[in-house]
C-alpha cells in the first residue's frame, strides 16, 4: 500500500485528540480501526494531510453499564462488542448484528464508533443503532454533546459529527428481555449487506408489545421502519402478522441500484427479509 503522504498523530487522550484535530485543519482524517479509511488511502481516493489515530486512547475501548444504559467506547472493536456479556444481555441485537460484520480479521480491527461515524448505509450497525435509539456522545473544543440516533445519520457518509468533533461513545438503552434478530443478505460471506433488517421485539405473552425495526442499505442512511413497527404492535407474533407488517418495509426507503441489486429487487428483499427477521426474533 502506497498512500499519498500524510502526517500522523497518535494522541493519548480525547482532549489531545480534539486539540490535534483543531490544529490540523480541514484536511485531517480520524483513524479508528482503519477498515474503511485504509482502502480509501490505498486507492488514493482520499489524501488527508494529517491522520489522527485514536488507537492510543485506552478509555475509548471500554464497555460499561451506566444506569439504564450500556455505554460503549467508540474504539471498542467489533470483536469485543459482540462478545461482551453486558451487550449480549441488554443489547442482544447489537451483538447479533456485529457478529455478521465481514470476517474475524475485520472484526478485530474495525470499531463500533468507526463504523457508525463512517455512516456507510450498507454498514450493518447503523440500522441497529437507529432502531434501538442509541445516543452518540461527541466531543469537541467546547466539551461534549449528545445526539440521538434519529438526528445522527444525515446522508451518505455524513453524520451530525461536526468539524473539529470526535465521536467518543455510543450509549444504548437496555433492552433486557427483548428478543431480536438481524437478517442479513449478501453476495458472499464477507461482503457488505445488499439489504438487511434489524428487529427487536418485546413480547408480552404471545403478542408483540413493542417493536424496533431498522433497515440496512435501503437509502442514503440507515432507515427506521416505523410502518413495520406500528403494524406489529399489538399483533400476535405469527407468520401472518410478520407478513402483513413486512408489506410496510419499503415505506420511506430510497433503495439504491447497483450491480448486486437493482432497486426493485432490493425492495423485494426488504419485504421478504423483514418478514423473516420478525419471525426469527419472535422465536
Amino acid at each position: 500500500m502506497i498512500p499519498a503522504k500524510f502526517d500522523y498523530v497518535r494522541p493519548s487522550s480525547v482532549e489531545e485528540a480534539v486539540t490535534a484535530l483543531r490544529d490540523a485543519g480541514e484536511d485531517a482524517k480520524i483513524l479508528a480501526g482503519g477498515q474503511s479509511l485504509l482502502p480509501v488511502l490505498r486507492l488514493r481516493l482520499a489524501a488527508p494531510s494529517v491522520i489522527i489515530d485514536l488507537g492510543g486512547i485506552a478509555d475509548l475501548r471500554r464497555i460499561s453499564e451506566d444506569g439504564d444504559r450500556i455505554a460503549i467506547g467508540a474504539m471498542a472493536p467489533h470483536h469485543d462488542v459482540m462478545r461482551d456479556d453486558l451487550v449480549k444481555q441488554h443489547v442482544t441485537l447489537l451483538s447479533q448484528a456485529t457478529a455478521t460484520v465481514a470476517d474475524p480479521q475485520v472484526r478485530h480491527r474495525g470499531t463500533l464508533g468507526g463504523a457508525l461515524a463512517h455512516a456507510d448505509p450498507a454498514g450493518d450497525l447503523g440500522a441497529v443503532a437507529l432502531a434501538l435509539d442509541a445516543e452518540f456522545v461527541i466531543a469537541g473544543a467546547s466539551g461534549t454533546r449528545t445526539v440521538g440516533a434519529s438526528e445522527f445519520f444525515v446522508d451518505y457518509f455524513t453524520t451530525a459529527i461536526g468539524e473539529g468533533e470526535i465521536l467518543t461513545q455510543v450509549r444504548f438503552p437496555k433492552y433486557t428481555g427483548w428478543t431480536s434478530h438481524y437478517e442479513k443478505f449478501n453476495r458472499t460471506a464477507q461482503a457488505w449487506s445488499m439489504c438487511a433488517v434489524a428487529v427487536a421485539l418485546r413480547l408480552d405473552g404471545g403478542s408483540i408489545a413493542e417493536a424496533r425495526v431498522g433497515l440496512t442499505n435501503m437509502g442514503t442512511t440507515p432507515i427506521r421502519a416505523s410502518g413495520v413497527e406500528a403494524a406489529l404492535v399489538g399483533q400476535q407474533a405469527s407468520a401472518d402478522a410478520a407478513r402483513a407488517a413486512a408489506e410496510h418495509a419499503t415505506e420511506g426507503t430510497a433503495a439504491p441500484s447497483d450491480a448486486d441489486a437493482a432497486a426493485d429487487y432490493r425492495e423485494h428483499l426488504a419485504r421478504v427479509l423483514t418478514g423473516r427477521a420478525v419471525l426469527a426474533a419472535a422465536g
Binding site: L31, Y156, D260, L273
Partner: protein, 826 residues
C-alpha cells in the same frame, strides 16, 4: 529398462505433507518483490483511465520535478515505439495481429494500458510522481460488444487491420476425415421425425485469474548477464521471448522465478512491464523493480474466458447423439496475449467430451474489443467446452424426457472401447466412466436426492432442490510437440530434467517445470526416491532459474507431472543404468547379473552389493571405473509425450435455491476423479479442492464487467467477489484409478480438473432446481438477483434486466462509486 527387478514404490501414493509449506507459511522465503539489489530504482506505470482514446498531449514536467524522480518516460523517450510484445500462437496463417506496444504512443486501446513510466528512488516517490503526470486524451468510441464489433461499419479497435476479427478457426470432422459431416447430420435430423435439433446459446463471462501474489519484476543489469527475477509461470519462455522482443542475446539473460504465489494461467504472459524493466535497467545501468498493486492487477493483468457459445446438437429421439455444431465468439480484448488466440481453440478437441458423437464442427471467431486482453486461465479452452457440452446434454435430456445421467450413459465411450479415437482425431488411451460415475452416484445418493426433489416440488417448498451433473474429461499434459506443430503453436511441448548424484549420496534433481504453488518439490522427490531407492529427504528439487535449470518449457496445462515428471523418470533410468555398469565393474560381475532394487545393486544369487550412494561416491572419487564410461552417474533427459493424458470424472452438485430471494446455496458436492495413478493423494486433494472453488466461483460468484464507456466496474476485491471458505461446503472428493497407458507412471494431470468439471455441474443444478417453475436458463454467475428475475419472468411478471455495469459497491466501501467518493471517512 535393463534392471531385473521392479523398483519399489514406497513413496508413490503416500500422502506426504508438502516440503515447501514450512517456508511458505512462515515466510522464510523470497518472492520477487522481496528481492532488492543494492541501488534498485522503482517503476510506476501511469495507465489510461479511458478505454479508447487518442493521446493528445503528455506533460511530464511536474512529475520530473517531484522528489526522488530519476526519469519520466514515454515509449518515444525510451526508443521502444517499434517494440511489439510477442504472440506465440498464430492460429491461422492470415491471423490479424496488432502490435502490442510496451507503452501506448498515440492511441490507448483499453483502460489500464500503460502510457508513461516513472522511475524513482522509492516506490512511493514513483507513485507520487505518477499522480503528477498529465495526459490529455480525445476519447474515441469504445468497442465492447463482440457481435457489434463484427458488424458492418463497427468502430475498429485497430483501424489498420481493417476489421475487429482476429481470425476464424474451423475444425470440421467431415472435412478432416475423422468423423461425419455436421451439416449432413443437421439436415438429416431436420428431415427425420424421429430426430431432434436443439439450439442453445451460452455465455462464458469474463473472469480475472486473481492469483495471490501480484505480478512483479526485478532486473539487475550489472554483471555479465542481465538477471531478471519475475513472478512468472514461465521463466524459460520469458527468457526466449525477451530475446525475441528486445534483441538481448538469450545467452546474456538469466531469468529467475523465485517462489511464485499462484498463477492459474495469469502469469503465463510476457508483460510490457517486464520488458520495460529490462529496457530501463539497460538504459540506466541500475537495477529496477516493478510490482503491481492489486487494483492494477485486476485492471491490467490478462483476464480469462469471455465467450459466446452457439451450439446445435442433433439426436435421435431414442437419445443417440448424432452431431454437434459449435460456433464461438471469443473476446481477445485489445491485443493478443502470448497464447491468447489459441485458448478457445484448445476447446475444439473437447466439445465431444466423453461421448461418441459421430460428427462435430467447431468454428471460432476471435474478436478484438477495447478491453483488457484475455489469455490462459485455469483450464484454458477446456472449461468452456466442458460447460457447453455438459449444459446442452442436460437440455437434450429435458427435451427428450430422459434422466440426464441415463442420456450420458447411452452416449459415452464404454470402458471396453478404450483406446478410443474420437471424432476430432484424439486417441483416449484409457478411462472408465462407469466406475467413476457409479461411485459418485452411490456416495451422492442420487436416487434419494431425486425423491427429495420430487417431494419439495410437490409441496411447493420455498427452498427447491436441484441436481447438477458434469461427467467431464479433459486433455492435459500439454503437449506432444508434433501436435503443437500442427496447430502452429510457437514452441514444442517437451520437458527437460537432470539428476545429479552428489558425492555424499544426496540427489539434486533439476526440472524445467516451474512451480508456483503446485507442490512439485514434494511430488517429484517422491518419484525420485522410488526410482533411485534413496530417502525422500535426500532429494532436492531445483527449478525456476535458467542458469540452474537451463532447459525447460515451464508450467501450465496440467503438464508438470505427466511431462516434467516423466522426464525425471527417464533421467533416473539413465542414472540407474550408469550405476549398474559401475556396480558390475566394482563387484567384478557381469552387468547382466546385477539386480537393482530399493537403492541396492546386488549380484544375483549372492549377498555382494553396492548401494547407490556408494556408487555415487565411487563415481566422484573416480579411482576405479570402467574404461568405456565417464566417471559420473549424472544424467539428463528430455521427454516429449506421444499423447495427452485424459483424466475424467463424475461431479454431482446438490443445489438449494430460496425461491423467495433467489439465493443459491451449494448443499453438497460429490466428485470422483479418475486421474490414473496418484503420486501424492494430499496434493491431489488440494488441487481438486482449489480447482472446484475456482470453477464453482465462475458459476456462482465471479464476473468482470465493463460499463458502457469501457471501464472495468469490478476493480477491487469488494466487487470482484471471490468466495471464501465460508461460502463453500466441505467437498466430498475421491479418486478412482484407471492408469494412463501413455506414460510409464500411469499418471494423468490434475491441476485443472476441478475447475473444468465443476462449473457446469453447478449451473445444471441451479437450472434443475428451477426448471419446473418454467426457468430454462440463468446466466453466470447465477446470482440471487439473476435467479429471482428468472423466476419472475417465468411467472410472467415483468422485471428489468439485471444490471451488470453499475459502479457499486467499490473502493473498499459498502455503497460508493469509486469515481465519486464523498463524505466523511473514518
Amino acid at each position: 529398462m535393463t534392471t531385473t527387478a521392479e523398483p519399489t514404490t514406497t513413496e508413490l501414493g503416500k500422502a506426504r505433507t508438502r516440503k515447501e509449506d514450512a517456508r511458505l507459511i512462515t515466510g522464510r522465503t523470497r518472492f520477487t518483490d522481496s528481492i532488492t539489489p543494492h541501488g534498485t530504482l522503482h517503476l510506476h506505470v501511469v495507465r489510461s483511465p479511458i478505454a479508447h482514446a487518442t493521446i493528445t498531449s503528455v506533460d511530464k514536467s511536474a512529475a520530473e520535478a517531484s522528489p526522488g524522480v530519476i526519469g519520466v518516460f514515454t515509449a518515444a523517450d525510451l526508443g521502444v515505439e517499434a517494440v511489439g510484445l510477442p504472440c506465440a500462437w498464430p492460429i491461422t496463417p492470415d491471423m490479424k495481429a496488432p502490435q502490442r506496444p510496451l507503452l501506448a504512443s498515440s492511441t490507448v486501446h483499453f483502460a489500464g494500458e500503460g502510457v508513461v513510466v516513472v522511475v524513482a528512488r522509492t516506490a512511493a516517490e514513483a507513485r507520487d510522481a505518477g499522480d503528477l503526470v498529465e495526459i490529455d486524451y480525445d476519447a474515441l468510441e469504445p468497442v465492447l460488444d463482440m457481435e457489434a464489433a463484427l458488424a458492418e461499419g463497427a468502430t475498429l479497435v485497430h483501424p489498420d487491420l481493417g476489421t475487429n476479427e482476429n481470425a476464424t478457426w474451423v475444425f470440421d470432422s467431415g472435412a478432416a476425415g475423422t468423423g461425419a459431416s455436421v451439416d449432413e447430420a443437421i439436415a438429416a435430423a431436420e428431415a427425420d421425425p424421429d430426430s431432434i435439433v436443439l439450439r442453445r446459446r451460452f455465455r462464458q463471462q469474463r473472469l480475472i485469474p486473481a492469483f495471490m501474489e501480484p505480478r512483479s519484476c526485478v532486473v539487475d543489469p550489472t554483471g555479465e548477464q542481465i538477471t531478471v527475477w519475475a513472478a512468472t509461470q514461465v521463466p524459460h519462455i520469458l527468457r526466449t521471448m525477451t530475446t525475441v522482443t528486445l534483441g538481448v542475446p538469450e545467452s546474456k539473460l538469466r531469468v529467475i522465478a523465485p517462489d511464485v504465489g499462484g498463477g492459474f494461467g495469469g502469469k503465463i504472459g510476457v508483460l510490457p512491464e517486464e520488458m520495460l524493466c529490462v529496457a530501463i535497467a539497460q538504459r540506466l545501468g541500475k537495477p529496477v523493480k516493478w510490482t503491481e498493486t492489486r487494483s492494477e492487477s485486476l485492471l491490467a493483468a490478462h483476464h480469462g474466458r469471455d465467450q459466446i457459445q452457439d451450439l446445435t446438437i442433433t439426436a435421435k429421439k431414442d437419445g443417440t447423439v448424432t452431431g454437434l455444431d459449435v460456433h464461438l465468439l471469443a473476446d481477445m480484448g485489445a491485443y493478443l496475449g502470448l497464447v491468447g488466440p489459441g485458448v478457445p481453440i484448445l476447446g475444439a478437441f473437447m466439445f465431444n467430451a466423453i461421448y461418441k458423437i459421430p460428427a462435430l464442427k467447431f468454428t471460432c471467431t476471435n474478436v478484438f474489443t477495447t478491453k483488457t486482453l484475455t489469455d490462459a486461465y485455469r483450464g484454458a479452452g477446456r472449461p468452456e467446452a466442458t460447460f457447453g457440452i455438459e449444459r446442452i446434454m442436460d437440455e437434450l435430456a429435458v427435451e427428450l424426457g430422459r434422466d440426464p445421467m441415463d442420456l450420458r450413459k447411452q452416449n459415452w465411450i464404454t470402458h471396453e472401447e478404450f483406446p478410443f479415437t474420437t471424432v476430432v482425431g484424439l486417441t483416449y488411451d484409457s478411462g472408465n466412466y462407469e466406475q467413476a460415475t457409479d461411485q459418485a452416484m452411490a456416495t451422492f445418493d442420487y436416487a434419494g436426492l431425486r425423491r427429495e426433489q420430487e417431494e419439495r416440488r410437490a409441496r411447493g417448498d420455498k427452498v427447491q432442490l436441484g441436481i447438477g451433473i458434469s461427467t467431464f474429461t479433459e486433455m492435459c499434459g500439454l503437449a506432444p510437440s508434433r501436435v503443437l506443430g500442427s496447430l502452429a503453436y510457437g514452441a514444442g511441448g517437451w520437458e527437460a530434467a537432470s539428476i545429479r548424484m552428489l558425492a555424499t549420496g544426496k540427489v539434486e534433481v533439476i526440472t524445467g517445470a516451474s512451480a508456483h504453488g503446485q507442490g512439485h518439490e514434494t511430488a517429484f522427490s517422491q518419484i525420485v526416491a522410488d526410482q533411485l531407492g534413496v530417502p525422500f529427504e535426500d532429494v532436492e528439487i531445483l527449478h525456476g532459474d535458467t542458469q540452474i535449470s537451463p532447459k525447460g518449457l515451464d508450467t501450465y496445462g496440467s503438464r508438470s507431472l505427466v511431462v516434467g515428471g516423466i522426464a525425471i523418470v527417464k533421467a533416473a533410468e539413465k542414472v540407474v543404468a550408469k550405476a549398474k555398469k559401475l556396480a558390475a565393474h566394482l563387484l567384478e560381475a557381469s552387468e547382466d547379473d546385477i539386480e537393482f532394487n530399493a537403492g541396492q545393486f546386488t549380484v544375483r544369487g549372492t549377498d555382494k552389493g553396492k548401494a547407490i550412494q556408494e556408487l555415487a561416491f565411487a563415481a566422484f572419487m573416480a579411482h576405479d571405473y570402467p574404461e568405456d564410461m565417464e566417471p559420473s552417474l549424472d544424467s539428463d533427459a528430455v521427454y516429449d509425450p506421444e499423447n495427452f493424458s485424459f483424466p475424467h470424472g463424475t461431479h454431482l452438485a446438490a443445489m438449494e435455491i430460496d425461491t423467495e430471494t433467489g439465493k443459491v446455496s451449494l448443499r453438497r458436492y460429490v466428485c470422483v476423479d479418475d486421474i490414473g495413478n496418484v503420486v501424492n493423494p494430499l496434493i491431489v486433494e488440494g488441487q481438486v479442492h482449489g480447482g472446484l472453488a475456482q470453477g464453482i466461483a465462475q458459476a456462482l460468484f465471479e464476473e468482470a464487467n465493463y460499463d458502457d464507456q469501457g471501464t472495468l466496474v469490478n476493480g477491487t476485491f469488494v466487487d470482484y467477489t471471490l468466495p471464501s471458505a465460508a461460502d463453500l461446503p466441505s467437498f466430498e472428493s475421491s479418486t478412482v484409478s484407471t492408469p494412463a497407458t501413455s506414460n510409464p507412471l500411469g499418471v494423468k494431470g490434475v491441476g485443472e480438473a476441478g475447475t473444468i468439471a465443476s462449473t457446469p455441474a453447478i449451473v445444471n443444478g441451479v437450472i434443475d432446481a428451477l426448471r419446473h417453475l418454467g426457468v430454462t436458463n440463468v446466466e453466470m454467475p447465477t446470482t440471487s438477483q439473476r435467479v429471482w428475475r428468472a423466476i419472475q419472468e417465468a411467472k410472467g411478471n415483468s422485471t428489468q434486466e439485471t444490471p451488470i455495469d453499475t459502479h457499486s459497491p467499490g473502493a473498499g466501501l459498502g455503497s460508493i462509486d469509486p469515481n465519486n467518493p464523498q463524505g466523511e471517512v473514518q
